[in-house]
Amino acid sequence: MSHVIRRLSRLTAVAILVAPSGAMADNLTTARTNNYGTPGKLVDMPTAEMAPDGQFSTTVTHFEGFTKSTLTFQILPWMSGSFRYSATDDLTPNFSTFYDRSFDLRFRLFKEGPYRPAVALGLQDFIGTGVLGGEYIVASKSVGDRLTVTGGLGWGRLGSFNSLGSTGTRDTFQPGDTGGDLRTESWFRGDLAAFAGLSYDVTDKLTFSAEYSSDGYDQEEAAGIFDHESPWNFGLDYKINESFALSAFSLHGSEFGARLTLSFNPKDAPAPGGLEEAPLPVRARPESAAADLDWALNDTRKARVGESVERTLASSDLEVEGLRLEAHTAHVRLRNPKYDATAQALGRTLRGLTRTLPDSVETLRVTLVSNGIPTSTVTFDRGDLERLENRAAADALAAAEFDDALTFADLPAPLPGKYPRVSWSVGPYLRTSFFDPDNPLRGEAGLRFKGEYMVAPGLLASGSVSVKAFGNLDDLTRTSNSSIPRVRSEVANYLATEEPVIDNLTLAKYARLGRNVYGRVTAGYLETMYAGVSGEVLWKPVDSRFALGVEANYVEPRDFDQLFGLRSRDTPGGTIPQFNGHVSAYYDLGRGFHTQLDAGRYLAGDWGATLSLDREFANGWEVGAFVTRTDVSSEDFGEGSFDKGIRLTIPLSWFLGKPTKDSLTTSIRPLTRDGGQRVFVKDRLYDVVRGQHQPEIAKSWGKFWR
C-alpha cells in the first residue's frame, strides 16, 4: 500500500515540476545570492529573482584584494533590502584597505507570467559613499524548469562598460566624501549599459551561470588593482543543504573567486510548535448535580484551594501573585516569567484553574502583571474552556474577553510573601561591534552579574556589573573630531577600562496612572555613559494597535571608569545639555509591520525625529531600520551625515524549541556619531506593556492550547 502512495506522491511531485505555473513560482524565487549578496543566480549582475518572503541571507564573496559581506532580508515578497560591508585593498592611496558600508533596495515591479518576464528595479549602494553605486532595471524569465534568462539596463557602476548612451550627468565617487545622504539626483543618471545572463540548474544542487557584465571596474582598473580583460563572467553554484551554498566564479577573464551563502527563514523554526512538555488537560466538570457552594464560606477550604492553584501553576513555572476566590468567580494575578508567547501562559494558567477550582466557579479571570503592575485582564467562561479544548484555537480567542486590568475594582492584591522578590543571574557576556570603519568585527567577552530586587509591586531596584575578560572592543584608534557635544563619540574612553564596571544601577517605579495610562520613573546610573532621572507616561488601550508616549530625561555623563562618579558636561565639541526627551507614537501596521516615530530633543541638544520600521514575526524575530534627522547639519554630524541603522532581535525560544523570554537584540549602525543619540533606559513602558495586550497576544494564539 505505502509504496503505491509513495509512487503516487512522486508522480505528483513530477507533475508539479512539469506544470508551467509551478515551475515559474519556483524558478524566480531563490535562496541563492550573487556576489553582491542579493537574491539571484548570476555572478556579479542582478536578476529579477526574489528570495522567499522573510528570508535572511549572509553572503561572503572573495577574490584577490576584494571581500564583500552582505546581509540581505526579504522585507516583502516583492522587496528586499541589503546591508553590505566591503573591503578593497589599495583602492585609494589614503587607506591600505578601503572599508565601505552600503545599502541596497530591490523592488519587483511585475511577477513572471506565462509569456511575460518578471521585472525588478534596484538601487545599489544608494546611501553610502557610492563607490558601488548603481541602479538597474532587469527582467528575468524562466524557460522550462531549469533555465532562467536575464537581461537589463544599468547605470552607475552597472553602466560603465560599453555604454549605449547617457541620461544626464552623475556625481562620481569622491574619496573622503562624508556620504550617507540619498543621492537621488544621481539615480538613473549618467552612462547606461546593457547586461545579460543565464543560469541553468544542472541538478537540484548544482547551478551553472554565465553573464555579460556591464561593470567596467573603472575605478579598480585606474587604481591598478583589477584587470578587465573581458565582459564575460562564469559561475558554478553548489547547494550544500537548505542553509548553505558555495560558489566558484571567474570574473572578467582575470580573476577567480569564491562565495559562501548562508540563508534561513525565521518562519521556519527548527522545531515548529515547540518541544516543551505537554500542558495539563482541562478538567471538565460533571454535568449533573448542583455544585457545592459551602467552600466559599469556609476560610480553611478556600485557603486550601488557593494553595492548590498556586502549586499547580508553579509546576508550569507560572507564578500566582494574587488570588481572589468567590463562589462563582476566580481572579488570578499572574506573573509569567517564562513563556514568550503570552497566549501559551494564559492557556496553561486557565487549564490549571479548571483542575483546581471548585465546580461552582464559572468565571475565570487572569490579570497579567509586568514589572509589578497589572496590565490586562483576560476573562473566560469556564464552560467555554471545557467545550473548546478540542477545537481550533481561534474559537477560544473568540471566547476570550480582554480588558484593562483597572476595569476591575477588586483586583486581587499581592499575596503575603510575594514581595520583596529577588532574581539574579551570573554568566558570561559577549559584546560585539560590527563594521567599524577600521575593523569589521570587534568584540569582547567577560562575566556579568545581574540582580533585580522588586521591593514592592512596581518598585524595582536593579543593577548589572560586568568584568571584561578579553577582547578588542577597545581597540579604537580614531579619536573624536566631533564639533557638537560629544555625547557618544568618546566611546573609546569608556571601553578602555580593565576594571569591573557598573553597566547600570537604578531604582524604578512603575505605576498605573489611570485607565489605559501607564507611568514610569527611573533614577540612577541609567546606562554605561549616563546617569540621571528618566520619566515616562504611556497611553495604550488594551485592544489598541496604537499608543502614545512622552518621556523626559535629566542626565549627567558618567565617569569613563563607569563606577559611581560623574564627569564634567563640557566636551571639546560643546556642553552636554542636562535635559532631553521625546514624544513617541507607536503603531502596529498589521501584516507583521510596526512603526514608531519619536520626536524631540536628543542628547547633544539637537532637535529632530526618529522614524523606525520593523518587520516583526509572531515568534519574536524582528528586523528593522531606523533613521534620525535632527537640526545638526551634515558637516557637523561628520561621516554618514545623519544617524541611521538596522536592528535585529533574535528570540532564543526559536533556537531552543522551548519557551523562554530571553532574546538577543543588536543594532548595526554604519557609524555612531553624536547627532540624533538618545539615552538608553531599561524597560521603557511600551516594551513592558505591549506584549500583554490583545493584539500581541492574538498573534501567537496558535500556542494557546500548546
Binding site: L8, A278, G427, F655
Partner: protein, 219 residues
C-alpha cells in the same frame, strides 16, 4: 548540516550570553538547553520488546483503568499509556510509569491531538470519518488536522477521505480503511472495529514528523 544542527551551534554560541547561573525561569530554560547540547545528550534508549512485555504486565497489574500502547514509526518511540483526563468524548492519555509530561488525545480510538511530542497535532475535526468507521460503513468524509507552524500560526490540513470496509479481521473485528487526499499530502489510516463500534487497534497519520502512529487498546 541541517537547520537543526546549525541552530544548535548558533545556540551554544548565543547561549553563552545568557547561560551561567540564575534563578530566572527564562534564563534556566536556556541554560538547561545549552548544557544538554554541551553534554551531547541523546534521547533515552527505547525499551526492547522483552522489556516492553515486562512493563506491560506491570502496568496491567497496577491499574484497573484503560491502558493502551502507542508506537510512533519515525521517531521510533513506543509508550504504554493510561487515561489521565476525560472531556466529553475525548480522552487524554499520558505515559504510564513515566513522569514526563507528554500526551495524546483520542476520540473513540481516533487520535485527535498530541502534546509535547514535537510538531504536535493541535486538534482535529474527525466526526465524519469517525461516524462511518465506527458504523463500519463505507463513504466519504472530510477531516481537518491542525498544527502550529514555526511562526506560532495555526495551519490546517484538510483532507477528503474515502472510507472502505476491508472485511473481517479476526474475532468480532472488522478492518476499516480511510484513504485521505489533502492539497499536497496523501495518507491512509486503518482501524480494527468491534461489532459494537469500538476501535481496538489503528494505524493513523498524524503528520510527516511522526510517520505512522500505531495505537493499540489494551484494556
Amino acid at each position: 548540516m541541517t537547520l537543526r544542527n546549525m541552530a544548535k551551534i548558533a545556540l551554544v554560541s548565543l547561549g553563552m550570553a545568557v547561560a551561567g547561573c540564575t534563578n530566572n525561569p527564562s534564563d534556566q530554560v536556556v541554560l538547561t538547553a545549552v548544557k544538554d547540547i554541551a553534554d551531547g545528550r541523546n534521547p533515552p534508549a527505547q525499551p526492547s520488546e522483552a522489556e516492553l512485555q515486562q512493563q506491560l504486565r506491570q502496568a496491567m497489574a497496577s491499574t484497573d483503568g484503560p491502558l493502551g500502547l502507542v508506537r510512533f514509526e519515525k521517531p521510533g518511540t513506543v509508550a504504554i499509556i493510561r487515561v489521565v483526563e476525560t472531556n466529553g468524548p475525548y480522552r487524554t492519555w499520558g505515559s504510564w510509569g513515566l513522569s514526563e509530561r507528554r500526551s495524546l488525545t483520542t476520540r473513540n480510538g481516533f487520535v485527535t491531538a498530541t502534546r509535547g511530542l514535537g510538531r504536535d497535532l493541535m486538534s482535529s475535526d474527525i466526526a465524519g470519518s469517525l461516524a462511518l468507521v465506527s458504523a463500519r460503513r463505507a463513504g466519504q468524509a472530510t477531516r481537518t488536522q491542525r498544527y502550529v507552524d514555526g511562526n506560532n500560526q495555526t495551519y490546517a490540513v484538510t483532507a477528503t477521505c474515502t472510507i472502505t470496509n476491508r472485511g473481517a479481521a479476526g474475532g468480532n473485528l472488522t478492518l476499516m480503511q480511510e484513504r485521505c487526499v489533502a492539497d499536497d499530502q496523501e495518507f491512509t489510516n486503518a482501524y480494527k472495529v468491534t461489532d459494537s463500534g469500538v476501535i481496538t487497534e489503528s494505524s493513523q497519520w498524524l503528520g510527516d514528523y511522526f510517520g505512522k502512529t500505531v495505537l493499540q487498546r489494551l484494556r
